[in-house]
């Protein structure tokens, strides 16, 4: 019998890559999809990839989606790996969502409020019937347009804050934590947690947020407000001394309002959970807000017993790039360790068999 090396090597890798590229293209009789088509027509995928890849660039995100054959976690990974090589020119000022250009803004806690409810582009009230007209190709009618309402739309805590019914913002001039440059330690500060959640896996956060609704760390949430729109991004170069607008960024923001029974030092008031993601991503923003609030349990003097309230559990496991890497690394060869396990289990079985033989011998005597 000849020794067969079951090993990869350079040629196997090259051939595998060529095969993959061929498979990605699919049947060449079908027209190739362009990144512009992906960016324009698969916007939710692109938004999700930008959020979890934590880089705002629809063009690159569309390229990542194409390169990853529509595998959104793989696409987010491509974007992250690119992001890590980029130089940092400046940090922006905090974005001001109170003055953003609103495309959609709804509150579940008021029938109406200053600025009004704006339904915007949403699937919320569509009937989920497969639309066969789309399959044939379909040119929609242009949406009706109104003049943009330039009046600032107050946020939920601006409305409830006057009575002290809801916790106020805690303004801070401290340099924010940067999870892409600094290793996390626990307990983690809220800025570090929010950064982790903002690029955390949508599915994981959805499940965690959902678990709080089903009694695993419940906090009686209400959607204070969801707003979707474009926010101005500004930097303030030290040599200029004033802020300059470098562009607009589409974001989705969710303010969740939660009950709080009060503590010895604080009277009862509403507390908040916060979610903010790139692009249009209401599910993610809401889940993030639920989880953010759940993770504040210790800070608010609540007993932290549920998984969603456990910082280490949530933050360490919400990153799908880390998770997919470590889960999938099990595909790598582990035969050296497996060999040591084989030897150990053989030894243990030999010990056990000897013992059993000894016992049956004794029983026979």
């Amino acid at each position: 019998m000849a020794y067969v090396a079951v090993k990869g090597g350079e040629r196997a890798i090259d051939n595998a890559h060529r095969w993959m590229a061929d498979e990605r293209r699919g049947d060449q009789a079908v027209p190739e999809i362009s990144t512009a088509q992906i960016a324009e027509q698969l916007g939710r995928s692109v938004d999700r990839v930008m959020a979890e890849g934590s880089l705002y660039d629809p063009g690159l995100a569309a390229l990542a989606v194409k390169q990853a054959q529509g595998d959104l976690i793989e696409a987010a990974f491509l974007l992250r790996a690119y992001r890590t090589t980029l130089p940092r020119f400046a940090a922006t000022s905090p974005v001001e969502t109170a003055t953003m250009t609103i495309a959609r803004r709804i509150s579940a806690v008021f029938k109406d409020m200053p600025g009004g409810q704006i339904l915007g582009p949403t699937t919320d009230y569509t009937h989920r019937l497969l639309d066969f007209a789309l399959e044939a190709g379909f040119t929609p009618q242009a949406a009706e347009q109104a003049e943009p309402d330039l009046a600032a739309m107050p946020r939920i805590h601006d409305i409830l804050g006057h009575e002290g019914l809801i916790e106020a913002d805690q303004p801070s001039d401290a340099e924010p934590f940067d999870i892409t440059r600094q290793p996390l330690a626990f307990p983690a500060s809220r800025d570090a947690r929010l950064q982790s959640l903002a690029r955390g896996d949508e599915g994981f956060l959805l499940a965690m947020g959902y678990s709080t609704q089903r009694g695993w760390g419940g906090s009686h949430p209400f959607v204070g407000e969801i707003r979707v729109g474009e926010v101005a991004v500004e930097i303030e170069p030290p040599e200029l001394g004033f802020a300059i607008d470098i562009g607009d960024l589409p974001v989705t923001e969710c303010q969740m309002v939660n009950q709080f029974a009060g503590s010895r030092t604080q009277p009862p008031q509403f507390t908040r959970g916060y979610g903010l993601v790139f692009g249009h991503g209401e599910r993610k923003a809401m889940a993030m807000a639920l989880v953010d609030r759940a993770l504040r349990a210790s800070e608010l003097g609540e007993e932290a017993t549920a998984p969603a309230q456990n910082q280490e559990f949530v933050i360490y496991h919400c990153d799908n790039i880390e998770a997919t890497g470590f889960v999938e690394h099990l595909k790598l060869p582990h035969y050296v360790d497996f060999q040591s396990e084989l030897e150990t289990i053989r030894r243990m079985r030999a010990d056990a068999e000897r013992e059993m033989a000894h016992e049956s011998q004794e029983a026979a005597q």
């Binding site: 090993k7 890798i13 290793p183 996390l184 890497g325 050296v336």
Partner: protein, 284 residues
Amino acid sequence: MNGYNFAYLDEQTKRMIRRSLLKAVAIPGHQIPFGSREMPLPYGWGTGGIQVTAAVLGADDTLKVIDQGADDTTNAVSIRRFFARTAGVATTTHTAEATIIQTRHRIPEEPLREDQIIVYQVPQPEPLSKLEPSRAETKRMHGLSEYGLMHVKLYEDITRYGHVSISYDYPVMVNGRYLMAPSPIPAFDNPKMDMMPALQLFGAGREKRLYAVPPYTKVASLDFDDHPFRTTRAPQVCGLCGSGVSYLDEVVTDDKGGRLFVCSDTDYCETRRAEGHAGTELAA
């Protein structure tokens, strides 16, 4: 490679990693948190080891990369290519020729020298992780040198099985102070770490930790006086080079229980064969 810095990472990042490595060398076996970067290879594929190698690699270094002891496993090939492409350094498969050896799951059979660095890829830097999931808690335990939990685990193994059941990633005490995960090398390799002349660096990218064992540092595998640490290997000799002391892979040759045992360290095996040693498989 066009558009990328030498060895991929930018100089500031490499400096940050080197500073963390200096700390790690100064406190042998102690885990140093570092600002681990996203790499173009997936987490779990050696991102920690790659960052450490990138930080210590110079243009005149010769790099060897092994996975499971072999130079030609796909992941070893991929990482070796990564540095050949981004740093343009010389690469080798010969342990003796390498100045830096990046490894996953093995220490080469050939003893390493003072002028060599071995970089381990580490999936889980926390040796207590299977006993205590919270890092806040294990950090405290390390601070207090409170390792009773691990001794209890070993003791329970001995009472249940008659010996310790850990066969790889077998915990070690470094310099008599810190409990350390040697990375998932077989326990067979643990004794090689003790008083090793080469600098040993460990990188865990996903967990964002670095640690180190400086040259000639005591590394003791945990045991009890009446149950001393023992290594295991398959009792066979290598079918290709006839070595009776190397760590062996068990290759399944048919579905009737046929097995071939060969050295896991491919360079060691090839060197021996070049020297004229032959196992039963080659002699036949």
